[in-house]
């Protein structure tokens, strides 16, 4: 046994090295008098970093240090409930902040401001293979025979609910009945070949060759292109405005509210636009006013059309306007209920289960 010890050591070091290489990126505590702990979902990391650099140039942000933690939205939210130190959270769905509100960590007024608690927005898009060989133009093309779809799983990834909501809205908000919407979802999930547990995993699986279409987010597609991992995407006629909430915790450090204000201000929203998000626009959701941000359209790198990086969406659905929002309460159980614990069986949950039974 002893002669194996050396090998085990080597193997362990190799493993450790890989793990360490995979982590990194945390900013570490800075030496300023005040620190803001940001807990966020993975995607806005680049934007938050850039905003933090700008923030420390302002009188409010002078000397402020940052500690950051990024991961899957639901996991991050649960970690904060379990005691992960946080002053400011930036998550992918409102229900992940609602969880903090229920635990008394976030003030109930967090979503009562002009921005309804939303700090960044984007839209659901359809990522396709180079040259769009299956000629995917919209939601109706996804249910054709032979089209293979990759999407994160709405059951295990909160942010995947935006995708399912967009697919559902495409039918029921374009004059379809609920029965037609259900039939559409059944066909959609029957074409799904991979239901990953996070948006990041779905993108990786798609880039590694799985499927013809990836249900994705515009900002992630643009950010991926900035990191040389880009893919073509199509903006369907009808899609959903993705609204990512941000909130300051009740016992946050002193500069945290200033930070949130800064994030919502021109400088903050400018950095979001530069990393592919559509800035928050309560008057006209999804519309980007480049002049107000002090940007030219061409400043947004990685968008397919540099002249028009954030094309207008003919029929943009929002939680507030179309689904009884703000917030998910009106559609959460109807679409995503588990059918256990007194919850109704959600339409999406049932479609996913049916898809397996039909083919399996």
């Amino acid at each position: 046994m002893r002669k194996n010890a050396g090998r085990w050591g080597v193997a362990g070091l190799v493993g450790l090295g890989l793990v360490l290489a995979g982590c990194g990126g945390a900013d570490g505590a800075a030496s300023g008098d005040e620190t803001i702990s940001i807990v966020g979902y993975a995607v806005p990391e680049a934007a938050n970093k850039a905003i933090a650099a700008e923030f420390t140039q302002t009188p409010e942000g002078d000397g402020v240090g940052f500690r950051t933690s990024y991961g899957a939205s639901g996991d991050q939210s649960r970690a904060v409930v379990e005691g992960l130190d946080a002053d400011y959270v930036h998550l992918s769905v409102g229900s992940d902040v609602d969880r903090l509100e229920e635990e008394g960590l976030v003030d109930p007024s967090w979503d009562q401001g002009e921005n309804k608690g939303i700090v960044s927005t984007s839209i659901v898009v359809l990522a396709v293979r180079d040259g769009n060989p299956k000629n995917i133009q919209g939601w109706d093309d996804l249910i054709k025979p032979g089209v293979e779809i990759v999407t994160p799983n709405p059951a295990s990834s909160g942010s995947a609910r935006w995708n399912a909501l967009a697919a559902w809205g495409h039918i029921v908000k374009n004059g379809g009945t609920e029965a037609e919407g259900t039939a559409y979802l059944d066909k959609l999930f029957a074409n799904v070949v991979s239901l990953t547990n996070s948006g990041r995993d779905a993108t990786t699986a798609f880039l590694d060759g799985t499927g013809d279409v990836l249900l994705a987010y515009e900002n992630e597609a643009i950010l991926a292109a900035q990191n040389d991992e880009g893919f073509e995407y199509v903006i369907p006629e009808t899609t959903v405005l993705i609204e990512n909430p941000g909130a300051v915790l009740k016992d946050a450090s002193a500069p945290s509210q200033d930070w949130l204000d800064f994030v919502l201000g021109t400088e903050g929203q400018k950095q979001f636009a530069l990393t592919g998000f559509r800035p928050v626009n309560t008057a006209e959701p999804g519309v980007v006013d480049f002049e107000a941000l002090g940007l030219e359209p061409a400043d947004i790198e990685g968008a397919p059309d540099p002249e028009d990086p954030f094309p207008a969406v003919p029929h943009l659905l929002t939680l507030e306007k179309d689904f009884g929002g703000p917030g998910w309460d009106a559609v959460k159980d109807e679409l995503f209920g588990t059918g256990e614990d007194g919850e109704p069986l959600g339409i999406v949950t049932e479609s996913i289960a049916k898809s397996g039974k039909a083919t399996g």
């Binding site: 046994m1 193997a11 295990s156 060759g209 256990e340």
Partner: protein, 278 residues
């Protein structure tokens, strides 16, 4: 677990515990403390969480069609893979101990790679080999076979590494004596070698089974998590957690724990029978 399957039944058991010396008493105390803090407490917490949902909650969770299908797939794949490992793992250990060939050192090193590789990387590698762009033309990703494949990959070293040291210690005199007394090679293997290896094989099999049942990382990208096809129970646990249903998650985990315990006990029984035949 180690006590169950690690001790050879042939070794005489010490009389039960009344004659502990002070040092061995402290040793036992420290062992139990360490074991309790690291293992028993978390296990108890899982079971307590599961019990909060009550018997009906537990039952409705594990009888949910989709959950039950995922548990069936997980357990079946773990059993099949473990059975395969018992044969291939023993064979690989045999080759590594008894045969000499060029590249043996390299092979020895590579066997441990599935241990060392972060499982998500393993999944990525398997996806590029068996996905749509497979250079081998094998499109097993996102089917139930991907689950078997991933389990086989991550559990390969267990039986090899438990059997190998025992095989190295095995004196060849006994085999030679058996042969000189006219025993055939098959008889020698069955009556002399196998009984000595049985505890090690069982230990490796138990590790392999337990690891497979809990596997998650390597499947994240590979299996596609398709319900009733390639969704394993760890993904159902994750879904329950995402739905703020820790009781449901703990219920599935408790059932998996019970199944693993049953399999480990069964392996111990088989191992004792085989060893007794020596």
């Amino acid at each position: 677990m180690a006590e169950l399957i690690g001790t050879r039944p042939a070794a005489s058991r010490p009389a039960l515990a009344h004659n502990l010396t002070r040092t061995s008493g402290i040793g036992l105390g420290l062992t139990m403390l360490w074991f309790s803090l690291l293992v028993l407490l978390p296990l108890a917490a899982v079971i307590v969480t599961a019990s909060q949902a009550g018997w009906s909650g537990f039952w409705s969770t594990i009888t949910n069609d989709q959950t039950a299908a995922s548990i069936r797939l997980t357990v079946l794949a773990a059993v099949v893979v473990t059975a395969l490992n018992v044969f291939t793992g023993t064979a690989i250990a045999w080759v590594l101990v008894r045969d000499h060939f060029p590249g043996k050192g390299l092979l020895e090193l590579i066997i441990d790679v599935p241990f060392a590789l972060p499982t998500i990387v393993a999944g990525l590698v398997l996806l590029s080999l068996y996905g749509n762009e497979s250079p081998l033309g094998l499109h097993w990703a996102n089917t139930q076979w991907s689950v078997y494949l991933a389990f086989l990959f991550v559990t390969l070293p267990f039986v090899v590494r438990t059997v190998q040291p025992v095989l190295e210690e095995l004196e060849s005199d006994v085999e030679e004596a058996a042969a000189s007394l006219g025993a055939s090679r098959v008889t020698t293997f069955r009556r002399i070698i196998l009984p000595s290896l049985a505890p090690a094989i069982a230990a490796g099999a138990a590790l392999s089974f337990a690891r497979a049942v809990g596997e998650y990382g390597s499947l994240v990208l590979l299996s596609g998590n398709l319900p009733f096809e390639s969704e394993v129970s760890s993904v159902r646990i994750l879904s329950a957690i995402e739905h703020d249903n820790p009781g449901g998650a703990a219920s599935i985990a408790t059932l998996l724990l019970l199944i693993s315990l049953a399999v480990i006990l069964l392996l111990d029984l088989i191992q004792r029978r085989v060893a007794r035949r020596g």
